[in-house]
């Protein structure tokens, strides 16, 4: 199997020669930026640099996938949000204190949404990557879900208060914003993405599991139906309480956070949705050494997690050595097992 076949098989919960290593969010680090001369903020705005930085996850780190969207704001920028693009050492971000929408009636997904430089950058980067690596590595795109777009376009607090005050209006907002999710997703599939990450931050750190069921389950079912490549749902933070719902959506995979144990998560998801994750970012990848990384990789493998990788966008100052340890540990574990059997 090559990397692409391995990732696609694992996303479909089919047999693999070894567990693939994958980060469906972002692998950008300052070290990698220097290595290929693709620093932020340029790597978030220029297709060639974006593709070059993304490719390092395969060429330098030995992961089985390439994911060119390092941030969560490309489409929000195209929708009209004000963006702080930051510098090499930080991620760009939406100025959520200056919301662009107040009610469902304000919501407009512009006709030329996909021609905006910041959405185009992503589709162009995917085209470049497809051409260069398309047969060997899985190219993963990213389209933000309507809940996260709600934070960006309405501001987090107004949006969360709306969800409590007026569920009908909230549903209407989500339904209108979902067009951005679908259009951007389809454009990336068209450009050559093998799979899509779909972050939608309805995390247990912010909202209850009932919220997920009330507002997002049906929309996520719809995404899984309409976007005809494997979809990897990403929600960071505590999510075990909503995994039973997520497992029913028809999403191919769920990218889960280290706040949830691999064993308890697998017990819920097994046979229904593949799991991707969940190496801890701040405490392990960023602060500890390869030994600690290896221990978390092994724990995921022992639990039967389908694709192993960091829990979320890795901290930009993470050492390359720690990241390289992930595929190394996966290979060693599989070799040991082969020897024993």
């Amino acid at each position: 199997m090559n990397s692409r076949q391995r990732v696609l098989a694992a996303l479909n919960r089919q047999p693999v020669d070894r567990t693939p290593v994958c980060n469906p969010t972002s692998v950008a680090t300052v070290e990698l930026m220097d290595l290929v001369d693709a620093p932020f903020p340029n790597a978030n705005r220029e297709p060639e640099r974006m593709a070059r930085l993304a490719a390092t996850s395969y060429t330098e780190l030995g992961f089985d996938s390439i994911m060119p969207v390092f941030s969560i704001i490309q489409e929000s920028s195209a929708l009209g949000c004000k963006i702080q693009w930051e510098q090499k050492d930080n991620w760009p971000t939406v100025r959520m204190r200056e919301p662009i929408w107040q009610t469902a009636d304000d919501i407009r997904v512009p006709d030329d949404f996909l021609d905006h430089p910041d959405t185009r950058c992503v589709t162009e980067a995917i085209r470049l990557l497809r051409r260069e690596y398309g047969n060997e590595v899985a190219i993963i795109g990213k389209t933000m879900g309507p809940w996260s777009l709600g934070y960006h376009c309405f501001g987090v607090e107004p949006f969360l208060l709306l969800s409590l005050d007026n569920p009908g209006q909230t549903k209407l907002c989500l339904d209108r914003m979902k067009e951005a999710t679908i259009r951007f997703g389809l454009a990336q599939i068209e450009a050559g993405a093998d799979a899509l990450t779909l972050p939608d931050h309805a995390t247990g750190d912010l909202v209850s599991a009932q919220y997920y069921a009330r507002y997002l389950r049906d929309l996520h079912i719809e995404f899984a139906e309409r976007l005809k490549v494997p979809i990897i749902l990403h929600i960071c933070g505590r999510t075990v309480d909503r995994m039973p719902y997520i497992a029913e959506t028809g999403m191919a995979a769920f990218h889960y956070d280290s706040k949830n144990g691999p064993e308890e998560s697998m017990a819920i998801c097994r046979d229904r949705v593949a799991l991707v994750g969940n190496i801890n970012n701040p405490e392990t990848l960023f602060s500890k050494g390869p030994e600690a990384v290896r221990a978390e990789v092994v724990r995921n493998l022992e639990a039967g997690v389908n694709l192993v990788g960091p829990e979320c966008a890795i901290p930009l100052q993470t050492a390359i050595e720690n990241l390289k340890e992930i595929p190394r540990a996966v290979r060693d574990w599989h070799n040991d097992r082969a020897r024993i059997n």
Binding site: M96, L160, L161, D165
Partner: protein, 248 residues
């Protein structure tokens, strides 16, 4: 010692019974409400329910009827917020619910603040809060601010992406002696340490007490940077501030 049945308001009794599990907290909260009038209990109940219109109305009525503003604040609003904080910490409620309680708190404070400031009644202390440079996560910081205000502190919120200079300027401008910094990114955590150094360079470090928090921050990290305290949640933030203000 007061017991649960000493509290007249049924909603409050139920809330305590269902959500306040730790014996020490249970005793403290029952004590708080047992001494509160029925009218104040009703204000607290509406606040816990996130019903800002009722809090607005009941607070205005109480003030008009001659209840002291301090009593409304302590026995109504702050007592209600104490239950909200614990429910949130224990995951019985989530951020939207806390935001709605904070909105209710604000609706009550609108009536109380002018009276307290006209009477020159001192707040527990003055706190400057902000999320550090390069970081735009503010939900946790905002919850801390709500709980600090809910506990009787005056808080100046510098928002997100706050530079060292803005922290320093704010301390000087407002004459505050407590500073709280929040960071949610490993990339921005070091900016807490840099801000502390900037206070040392400006010769102001000894005048203030600094607390830090945010998901990736730890006690060790806080010690290493030379902060005076680390708080893992909004309730811890309030106890630190009280300790710094000598009101613990």
């Amino acid at each position: 010692m007061p017991e649960l049945h000493d509290i007249a308001n049924e909603f409050i009794r139920q809330e305590i019974d269902e959500f306040i599990e730790r014996p020490d907290e249970r005793a403290r909260i029952i004590g708080l409400f047992a001494k509160a009038s029925e009218q104040m209990q009703a204000i607290a109940a509406a606040l816990i329910d996130g019903d800002h219109e009722t809090v607005d109305r009941l607070t205005a009525e109480a003030i008009a009827a001659g209840v002291h503003a301090m009593e409304v604040m302590d026995d109504g609003l702050i007592a209600g917020m104490a239950i909200v904080g614990i429910k949130f910490r224990q995951n019985f409620i989530f951020v939207p619910e806390v935001l709605s309680c904070a909105r209710a708190m604000k609706a009550g404070m609108v009536h109380i603040e002018p009276i307290l400031s006209a009477a020159g009644i001192e707040k527990l202390g003055k706190v400057i809060m902000g999320t550090v440079k390069g970081d735009l996560h503010d939900i946790g910081k905002n919850l801390c601010i709500m709980m600090l205000r809910g506990a009787g502190f005056e808080v100046i919120d510098l928002g997100v992406d706050t530079s060292q200079d803005r922290f320093i300027d704010a301390i000087e401008e407002h004459g505050a002696n407590i500073l709280g910094m929040s960071a949610l990114l490993t990339t921005t955590m070091p900016n807490m340490g840099k801000t502390i150094e900037a206070f040392i360079d400006a010769g102001l470090r000894d005048d203030i007490r600094i607390m830090v928090g945010g998901a990736p921050v730890t006690q060790d990290f806080a010690d290493e940077m030379g902060a005076d305290g680390y708080g893992k949640d909004a309730l811890a933030c309030v106890s630190l501030a009280k300790q710094f203000a000598g009101k613990a």
